[in-house]
């Protein structure tokens, strides 16, 4: 988080992490679609010619809240391919919250677990305690056959402390839920550490409402989250 008192600006960094081809960029694209046309900034993608993320994707979002404070959200994805670990660590450094996007298919379970271990390791190596990082998990591609069943995920989700979401990012389903869940969790931590409400009269509810209004699902043709 960066706080610019003079400009009354708060910049928050949110990172979408996960194994290769789990749908991180698709999530960002769907989120971008949800922003009303006139308020929409450009989604920046730095990818290779076969559409694999090379460095990151960047979606900037901005809201005004509290006593005239501008909250700038920088939503980034990491490259998922194993070889790009150095880039992944760079993008992750300084993150305020992480959404972990996993592929729901049974065949991808191992990949998902490895990528999550990689996330933990990269956090630790960057001097961040993984248990202190706000993390939400999204099981994407719920429309595909041979996925891990709902009951199993629900059962396991109860045992972890992080919020778990289900999504079909290609259809925009669950994308907003995941994002709002991430912002809620991240904001709670930023509030604990920086007393934002006291300093700027800005509350979590207000941030979520402003964001909700900006990401008005009815403005989008891609369909809303459940």
């Amino acid at each position: 988080m960066q706080l610019d008192f003079n400009a009354r600006e708060l910049t928050v960094k949110l990172v979408y992490y996960g194994p290769a081809l789990s749908g991180k960029t698709t999530n960002l694209k769907a989120l971008h679609e949800l922003v009303s046309q006139q308020a929409r900034g450009r989604l920046m993608t730095l990818d290779t010619k076969d559409d694999r993320t090379l460095f990151f994707d960047l979606l900037p979002l901005q809201i005004k809240a509290g006593s005239g404070l501008t909250v700038r959200l920088k939503v980034l994805t990491v490259p998922g391919q194993v070889i790009h670990n150095a880039t992944r660590r760079l993008v992750l450094s300084g993150a305020d919250g992480v959404a972990f996007i996993a592929d729901s298919r049974k065949s991808e379970t191992r990949e998902g677990a490895n990528a999550f271990l990689n996330l933990r390791q990269n956090l630790t190596e960057s001097g961040i305690d993984p248990t202190a990082m706000p993390i939400v998990i999204q099981f994407n591609k719920r429309d595909l056959p041979d996925i891990r069943p709902d009951a199993e995920l629900d059962q396991l989700a109860k045992r972890g402390k992080e919020p778990v979401f289900k999504a079909v990012a290609m259809q925009g389903v669950g994308v907003l839920d995941t994002f709002m869940g991430l912002v809620r969790l991240t904001w709670a931590k930023l509030e604990r550490e920086n007393q934002l409400e006291k300093k700027f009269q800005i509350s979590a509810d207000e941030v979520l409402q402003s964001l909700g209004a900006k990401l008005d699902s009815s403005a989008s043709t891609t369909g809303a989250a459940r």
């Binding site: 910049t11 960094k13 900037p60 501008t70 880039t87 960057s126 001097g127």
Partner: protein
Amino acid sequence: MSDSHSHPEPELRLPEPLLLNTPRLEQLLDRSALQDVCRSFFESFGMPVRVLGKDGSLLSSVSLEGDPMLFGGRERELPIVYDGRELGTLVVGPEPFPERRNNLDKLATHFSRVLDALLFSGHRALLASTMHLATAEESYRELAEKNERLQQAYDRLKELDRLKSTFLATMSHELRTPLTSIIGYSEMLASGMGGELNATQREFIDTVRNKSDQLLELILTLLDVAKLEQDKLRLTLAPVDPGELAIDVVHTVSPAAAKKQIVLEHRIDTRMPIISADKARLRQVLLNLLDNAIKFTPKGGSVTLEVTAADFQRIVDEGSVGAVLLSAPERALQFLVRDTGIGIPIAEHERIFDAFYQVDGSATREHGGTGLGLSIVKRLVDAHGGIVELDSAPGCGTEFRVRLPVIEPEN
């Protein structure tokens, strides 16, 4: 990263401000390219245009000659907003004709959109190149750290290897001292110095003697390996007649061959040169090879020793310039030991020269031995500047060839 195992201080290695903040206009736009766009705009629409940085500095300007205000026309000023931030000002005009002022607004909006596209491309390129550099640095840092850890592990292993050799040397030496006494005293007993022995006692003491000799031989072999590993081995070079040496070794092993009903043949080229070598060590090489051959050849098989003159092509500086000049053939001597034994799988050919390595542990229990013979052969042949080669496959027997360069004795 530091040596300590605690969490390192979080280093902000990422060009973080670049990712989170919006760069200045000057960082995103190429001045001369911008000037080209402005000029093209002016040529197409006849409209002057200026781009100013946040501090009012002029980045680009194309206008009519003279002070624009002299024309009394109106200018249109637009803030250059990118990523929610004001980065500078765009000034389009002056437009001297009031009836065309609507056109001025349209042109200003158009130019502002062109500028936005340029800024986005510039931002994207800036992020990509900065990220590229940061990634390269991060990868380098990661590799350097890994190399450091590998080097430490390597140094530690080298130290352990040295300790092992020292341990081997010390142990062998310590074992030998009491054993020498055991052999001495049993010899005295056998010679009747402690009184007459009956047949059973003599048989027992002979067994003690035999087993002690075997043990001594084993310990001496271990000492040899230890010395060889510590590079303490010094060759005592003297003129050696290879033919004579070969016949001597054949005589030594023939009882063992006869016991297993193995045919022991030798073919020795009689016109062998006298060479300069360490006779005892060379003898050990041939003995080890023949011992092995007999050990691993089943009853009724055959073992052959051939000594011939051969060419010796030592490849010097392989793969580099001048190898053809440096690798001239030398005169050489070849000792060949061929058997009709069990053979050695090709996958094992490299490793059989390692100390204590045995192709099959069960073979040791059946045939005895320490797994040191070939390792000693290799080291001794190396010390003589020669090479050992083998051809073998399971069930097809084995052929070892030792080639030594002919170094003629001085005088």
